[in-house]
Each structure stands twice: as structure tokens, then as C-alpha cells.
Amino acid sequence: MNIDLTVIWALIIFVAVFIYVVLDGFDLGIGILFRSFEVGHDRDTAMNSIAPVWDGNETWLVMGGGGLLAAFPLAYGLIFSALYAPIIAMLLALVFRGVAFEFRWRDPAHRGFWDLAFTGGSLLAALSQGVVLGALLQGVAISDRAYAGGWWDWLTPFSLITGVSVAIAYALLGATWLVMKAEGNLQRQARALAWWLGGATLAAIVGVSIATLFLSADYFQNWLHWPNILWVAPVPILVALASVAFVRSLRAGHELAPFLLTLGVFLLCFIGLGISVFPYVIPGAVTIWAAATDRSSQVFMLWGTGLVLPMILAYTGWSYWVFRGKVGAHGYHA
């Protein structure tokens, strides 16, 4: 067999992380925007629109982490010990926002507090994930299979920019999700938010892309050297086209298209990231082949993934289908 299983596993993890980012992206995004919605009907509707699916969405985060441990154990240990502070912050933030789904209904007297926990947790989780992305892109000091940098290495202007960028982009996903799922006042507000969040997201994409190019010669090379530029040029061009279509769909009052176009832009950004980073799992330091697990482990897991993943996609899709359509404040039962 000549197929390079390491590349296949890199693709699987890449796809799992992408699915996580867009799925938890929209529900973290709703969390980020949550406190700007009116108390009562609007907040209840916004939360109900994601209550049945957030847990499944977050499972992809465990899949990304667990998959990394399974397929690239060296990278798993290195990345998470190197980015200790933002990872711990993300985990604690997810605790707050996760329990808020249940706690806010259980304790009306402290609902304001749990709403704040929901927004604060969602925002901190998004920022942390963005910081992790930035810190990885700017490089991690490694020597002899162990992290060799300091405890604040991750904190740079670049990682802060990526942190804020991810939070903005998640908020855009959340806003367009609500354009799709909500009605009335909440939908109007979501549409207004989508306008300026769309602009801010585009600015963030452009800013982070340009800054990334100058982080390392590899990134510059992968994008701008002949003939690479021919292969990669469609990515920014498609982002530009999607942005135009996004504006037109919002203006035309479409409900589904803004969300799908935002997903499209996320996909393009992910492909762009892949172009920058490949074949590294930790940019500039560890390639996917250096971090790859044993071949026997790769084969064993590929069986499971090949058999089970289609079933997961099927019943996850079914669950979304069950809760399709507009959501009212009375949940999906109205």
C-alpha cells in the first residue's frame, strides 16, 4: 500500500477541527452576542436555537483533541503544554458557558449572572482559540521532543489579533445563524449585527493574512512564489467573491444564504491556513511525519473512522433535521 496514511490523518484532523470551528463557532458566536439581545423572548429564543445541538458541536472539540493525541501524539503533548495558559483558559471558559445552558433555567433569581457567564465564557473561549491559532502560526520553541519556551511566549500582538479576529468571526457565524433561525425583532437585530460583523470579519481576514505572510519565509514562499501563486490565488479571489455575495444576500433579505456564505468563507480561510502550514503540524518545528503515530495505530483508527464517521454524520444530520425551521421562545415545540 502506497497511500501515505499520515497525510490522510492530517486531513481527518483538519476536517474535524474545521467542523468544530464552524459548528461551535455559531453557538459560541451566539454566546458572544447574547447579552446584546433583549432579556426575555429574544434571549430565550437565541439560546433555544442552539440548546439541542451545542453538546454535539462541542464533541468535535474532543474529536480534534483526542484525534490529535491518537494520530500525532507528539504534537498533542507539545502544543498543549506550550500553550498552557490559553488552553486552560479555554477549558474553564467552556465550563461556564456549557453549564449556563442548564443553569439559567434552573435559577431565575440569578439568571442575569448565568447569562453573563454564558457570554463571558463564550467570548473567552473564542479569544483563547484565536490566541492558540496565532501562537501556533508564529511558532513554538521545541527541543528534544519537549516544549522549550517560556510561559508567556504565546502572548504577542499577533496572537492577540488572531484572538480578536476569531471572536469576531464566530460572532458573525452566530448572527447569520440567527438570521436563519429567528424571526421578528431578534432576526432584525441579528441582520444588523451581521452587517458590521461581516465587515469586521473581512478586515480581520485581510489583516491576519497579510501579517501571517510576514511571520515566516515558509508562509511567504507557500503563497507568493511562482508557480505556487497560480494554485493558491483562487483562495483570496473566492473570499472576495463570497464577500460580495454576502452583502447582496443580506441586502436582499435572504435568510439562509448569509449563513452558508459565512461557512464558505470559513472554509476558504481554513484552506488558506492549510496552504500556509502544510506539511507542518507545529509550524516551522514539527512536520506531520515527525509527529505521526505508529502505522498500526493509524490503520486501526482508520477502520473505526471509516465505519463510524458516516454514521455520525448521518445521525447528526438527522438531529439537525429534527430541529429544522424557525425556533420560537417556547423552544422547538411551539
Binding site: 430565550d44 507528539l74 503533548g77 465550563v95 503515530t293 463510524v308
Partner: protein, 470 residues
Amino acid sequence: MFELPEALLLARIQFAFTVSFHFLFPAITIGLASYLAVLEGLWLKTGREDYMNLYRYWIKIFALVFAMGVVSGIVMSYQFGTNWAVFSDKAGPIIGPLMAYEVLTAFFLEAGFLGVMLFGMNRVGKGLHFTATLMVALGTFVSAFWILSVNSWMQTPAGHAMNADGQFISAGSWLAIIFNASLPYRLAHTLSAAYLTTAFLVGAVGAWHLLKDRANPRARLMFSMAMWMATIVAPLQIVLGDLHGLNTLEHQPVKVMAMEGHYQSHPDGAPLILFGIPNSAENRVDYAVQIPKASSLILKHDLDAPLAGLDTVPVADRPPVGIVFWAFRIMVGLGFLMAGLGALSLYARVRGKLYEWRWLHRFALAMGPSGLVAVLAGWITTEVGRQPWTIQGLLRTAESASPLAAPAVAASLLAFVLVYFAVFGAGVLYILKLMAKPPVVHESAPPNIPVRSAGTTPAVALRPDTLATE
């Protein structure tokens, strides 16, 4: 900068703290998911409304516990990397795939069907909804299988080889890795423990409401079901525990020495130390109350069988005896109390006093948290008893940790302690508030009542008509 050993100790405390807190939730959800499936199944079969009422009563609590289990579980899946990077690197090729299978075959299953289970009652038919409940219950079971396979491999590693980078890899057969020597015993003992944990919680809630209103048919129903579990499963658990112990004696004898407090070898029959204070400095158990030769009888089924003690083990390879010794006794003591309650309830049932005997109800109420305490004590016994190894005999705990500085670990440990006590403390409070409400007859009959009337969605909390009934 502090010395590394201190960072190591902090990392161990952090893992012990987060995993102990975490396990309390699955210990409940594993049993409760099955209980909910039984309730819904009985409701579908018999049409008796109180089964559905109990289903709705307990699914509110299930939703809370499940959410806390999810968020504390995500922490665990990342903590291997943050605090135990070397362990992750070395053991990843073995345990990584098993945990990936857990995510693929269990976590997605639970999460995928949980939404329908909680919110989908009148979006899908009764049959599909029951299927969703069954899938969630199956997911908790499958999850336990994989994670216990990982843990069992760390206790009784098998089927592995080592590569040039010092990583443990499969020697060829994954079945040898998955079904390692201690898995069957650990799995049976842990699942049975989860069922008992749930049974004693349900029993205590039933007892509480019987103490307040002996006539409440739903309180009677849940109490009766829970006491059947106590009567049947608690004695079974003692047998499973004994078998697990014999398996441990075969594969991890040092752990059993610590559990028994056997500092010295006993060539002609070892005593069973009931109580005492382990004194590792002097290698003896102070103030020991013991039964001569009984330990040999239990472990070897022979009064005069020789048993080796910790004096045969280098000091550097010994676990901390005191913790293991006491945790083991707490677990066993609670196990016998549970079986005692089960026997008493059977006696009361036969005499027709199951719902009348107030001391039985008080006893059951007091035993409510016994499963949770016993489960933690059991895990402390087996995990501390494995020390100083993370992978028994192969990788030391001291060689497993990330190269972290003590201040970083101390700060994160403090954050975990504060957040967990605050957040999960609030969660426990909300659960107790739910448990304090008596299980009532709901106004409309299923399937017209959506599960939202269970309160997992907001509308209900704001609707006066449902508030009146709760």
C-alpha cells in the same frame, strides 16, 4: 522558579482533582441513562403514566448532570496534553486510538441523540424518542468500555512494543491491548458501581418523599425500583469486587499489599487487618485490629497460604500505603452497608412494610451519596495503588509530566478549584432543589406533553401553569 518535583506534585493534585470531580457525573449518568431507558420502556409497554412522570422527573436532573459531565470531560481530554505531555507522547500510539474510538462510538452517540431525548418528544414519534433514549444509554456504556480499557491498559499493560522514539506501540494485536487482563473485572465492577450510585440516589430521593408523604405513588415506585437494585446488585458488586481484587493480586500484587497494609511478608498465613494506622516510616500498622490468617483465606482461599509483603518491594516502587489502605476500607465498608440496606429492604418488602418503615427510609436517605463516595474511594484505591507508575512497571509518574514550571501549574490548579467548586457547587444545589420537589402527576398526558415541561427549556419556567405543578 521552584524545583520540578513540586510542579509534579501540583500536576498530580490537579489531575486527581479534575478527574475525581469529573467522574462523579458519569457515575450518575451511566446509571441514570439506563434507568430512564427502563422507565420509558416500561411506560411504552404498560402505559402506566407514573413511569412517564418519573421519566420527566429524572430527565431534568439527568440534563444538569450530563451538562456538567460534558464540560468537565472536555477538560480531561485536554489535560493529558497540558500537564502530561511526555506520557501523551509515549503512550499516545496505544491509548490515543482507544480514546478516539471512545469519541467516535460513544461521545457522538450520546451528544447526537441527547438533543432529541431532551427536546424532541413531540418532534419525533414515541418509538424514535425511545430509540434516542436507548442510544444515549448505550453511549454511556460504550464510553465506559473504552475509557476503562485505557485505564486497564495502564494498570495491566499488554500487547505493546517500543519504537525508536521510546513510544509504546502495538505489537500487532489490538485485541490484546483492548482486552487486557484487568479490563473485564474493572468494567464489570465500575459499571455495577455506576448502577448502584444511581440506585442509591434514586432510593434516597424516593425515601425523602416517602418520609413526607407515604402515599405518593411515584415516590413509592422509585423507592421500590431502587431497593430492588440494592437488594440484587449490591451483593453482586461485593462478588465482582472480590474477583477484581483477586485479579489485582495476580497482576499488581504491590497494590494489594498496600490495600491490606501488609508491610511484612507472611510465609504461613497473613492476617486480615480490619483497622489500624499505617506507619510507613516504621513499616508497620499501628493499633492494628486483625484476624489471623483471614487475608490468606480471602486472597488465596487457604488459611496457611504465604503472602508476600512490601518488604519484598524496593522503597522507590511502593505506593503511599495510608491513602490506599483507608480508601479501600471506605469503599468496602460502604459496599457492605449498601448490601445491608438491600437486605433490610427485602425483609421490609416481604413483610409488606416497604413504604411504612420510617427507619428504613431514613437509612436509605442517609445512604444517598454512598455510591458517589464509594466510587471515588475505589478509584483512589486503584490509582494511588498503581503509584509510582502511570503505566504499571513501564513508565513512572515522575517521568510522565510536562516540563511545566510550578507557578503555572499552581495557578491553573487554583483556577480549577475555584471554578469547579463555584460552578459545580451551584449545579449540585440546583440538583438538590429538583430532588426536593415531590414527583407529581402532570396535567396533560404524553405524548402531548413535550419534555420541555420537564423544565429543560425556558418557556416552562415562565409559564404559571407549569410552575403551579412543580
